[in-house]
């Protein structure tokens, strides 16, 4: 069986998740452009992209379904960590699930790459307090996305 280290350089494809809630401010085409540009620094490319819908964005259900399919990918690129913050509590456990399944995570807006649980643990406090210190921002994004 190939280890994460072996596959890291072999598989260059990332599944791409634009932030549906930010489309009004940064159209999806520009989000894709930014994500593509960011991951190209790591010699990665997008295999496919999809955004959560108005019914799934809170619990990131599409992402969870994708994870259950066990896709052959290097990882996932998100437009922003904000996408993990639209639930009542943040969705850090989904991020952990991605990493536990050997997928890397790229956050374009924040220019952050998390390749494994060890790197995640180093950043966990930052993620945790981002949600706590940005309640007003998250609330305003959610209010702008009412259907």
């Amino acid at each position: 069986m190939k280890s994460k280290k072996d596959t890291f350089f072999l598989n260059t494809e990332l599944f791409c998740y634009p932030d549906t809630l930010l489309n009004k401010f940064i159209p999806q085409a520009w989000q894709l452009f930014i994500m593509k540009s960011f991951i190209s620094e790591y010699k990665k490319k997008i295999s496919f992209y999809t955004g959560e819908s108005h019914k799934t964005y809170k619990k990131m259900t599409l992402l969870k379904n994708k994870l259950n399919e066990k896709p052959k990918l290097h990882g996932f690129v998100f437009f922003s960590f904000l996408q993990f913050c639209y639930n009542k509590e943040n969705n850090l456990e989904i991020m952990e699930e991605c990493l536990n399944k050997n997928y890397s995570i790229y956050l374009a807006r924040e220019k952050i790459v998390i390749r494994n649980m060890s790197e995640f643990k180093k950043k966990k406090l930052d993620f945790f307090y981002f949600t706590k210190t940005n309640k007003a921002l998250i609330k305003s994004i959610l209010e702008n996305f009412k259907y």
Partner: protein, 243 residues
Amino acid sequence: MYKNNTLNYFEKNGFMKINLDKKYLKDYVSFKKTIKKSFAKNFKNNSFEKFHLDVTFDKINDIRMKVIEKINKDKKIKQNIYLSAKKILNQMVGPDIIVQKNINLAIQMPKDQSRALFHKDTPLSSKHEAVIWVPLVDCKQSMCMTMIPKKYHDEADSLLKKTNEKIYEKFAKKYGITIPVKFGQALIFNTNNFHYIPVNQTKNTRWSLNLRFKNLFTPYGERNLLDYYQIINTSPISRLLNS
């Protein structure tokens, strides 16, 4: 009258000079050696102070960008800057402290006209931020930044609509304070403080780093945790809440 290296002076004026913790000076020295080694073709045999002798104005920004890219790959530098000023920073903004993710570097060669204009960093930056300015060479006279004490800020604010740089220069000369800062020392100032960078009229090049710190729980400007800042120190209670 408070001395310029006390927190009382900082509270009154918005800036202060500090001595960096001597324990970490060797790290700054080795950091300088690394830069010199990596950019040997630009330095030739010159010191940091005499860097300009073999570099032209049109090349300097390109070199600066490459040095910034290089120094930001080294994760230890930020930590060293924090640790060498920890005692003051923890009192000033801490103990739950976040730091700018990327270190800035300024290289100001003698007579180089390209520099930031008279300004303050707010409201783009939070008012709750402290900037640490760390020279890599001894700085005196026009190698130093001119800081405007807090009591003149309203007047400085009214100047911002003017477009003539000479007005700023005159204002900075009249009200500004220039504190000589040697290698091994640093200047800490609040982002809401106006500052002016004169043209370097000395015979030496100024090399300086600058890095921003703020408390995790104070209001943010347009820059946020994760995209611009990262946590560098936390209190036991903040760690407790996340465990």
